[in-house]
């Protein structure tokens, strides 16, 4: 029998993978993708609870999360591209200047 606990465990595991990705990798694009994984973990949680509580608010919030993720990706990738054009690197450890 699949309960909401299963979904929570799945969500937690996905979240963990995302966190590991953020901490371990140096490529900023991979870090961004890890953040997307984290957001997805949150969404799984929201939808699972929505299903369990018979309440659609969870789904509404999942839609908001997706909208925020879209905004984040647009601006974030714009910054990465701008940075890359000037510094020729995507290594996050080399991104240590506030301006150039």
């Amino acid at each position: 029998m699949i309960t909401s606990t299963h979904y929570m465990l799945l969500s937690a595991a996905l979240f963990t993978i995302g966190v590991v990705g953020v901490m371990v990798r140096r490529n900023i694009i991979i870090i961004f993708m890890s953040i997307e994984l984290i957001l997805n973990a949150v969404n799984i949680n929201l939808i699972a609870f929505s299903a369990q509580l018979q309440n659609l608010v969870g789904q509404v919030f999942a839609v908001f999360v997706i909208a925020v993720a879209a905004a984040e990706a647009a601006v974030g990738l714009g910054i990465i591209l701008a940075f890359y054009r000037n510094k020729e690197t995507v290594n996050i450890d080399e991104m240590n200047l506030m301006r150039w």
């Binding site: 909401s4 140096r26 789904q59 999942a62």
Partner: protein, 170 residues
Amino acid sequence: MGQAIAFYTMAAAILGFAVLVISTRDTVHSVLFLVLDFLFVAALYVLLNAPFVAVIQVLVYAGGIVVLYLFVVMLVNLKRPPEAHQDPHRRTKLGFGMAAAVLLEVAAIATYTSANPAPAIAASAAMPVTGNTEQVGWLLYTSYLIPFEIASMLLLVAMIGAIILAKREL
């Protein structure tokens, strides 16, 4: 039974692809695994009676956001071969330490809930309100109108910001 099989398959796929996303060396492959991961998450939403969110997941995430990622990766990979982006991992200990902490917490939840099992998620037939597009839309435009408008403002700002960042001269 069928639901359990579906859940475990999808969960395995989601986690497996997620691991591949953060561990693959070639960034383009990473992006591809991310798409697959999102598609399986969408399938999971269908399982949870949320077809609207599932379709939005595919449309916005797989069809929109990840295409953006792919664009950026392609532009970045063009100048230098992918090998040039490989470098030693950083903060490995910290990362895995945090992961261990989260897993510990998860284990605590698991032991707690195994003692007090949560009610099973009802099958679709038992749900009075399914993940119905109309109902989600109704909620969005009534109770959550202000958050909805804020979200649209956020998207507008993001759009303008992205254009300013990417355009050569204004």
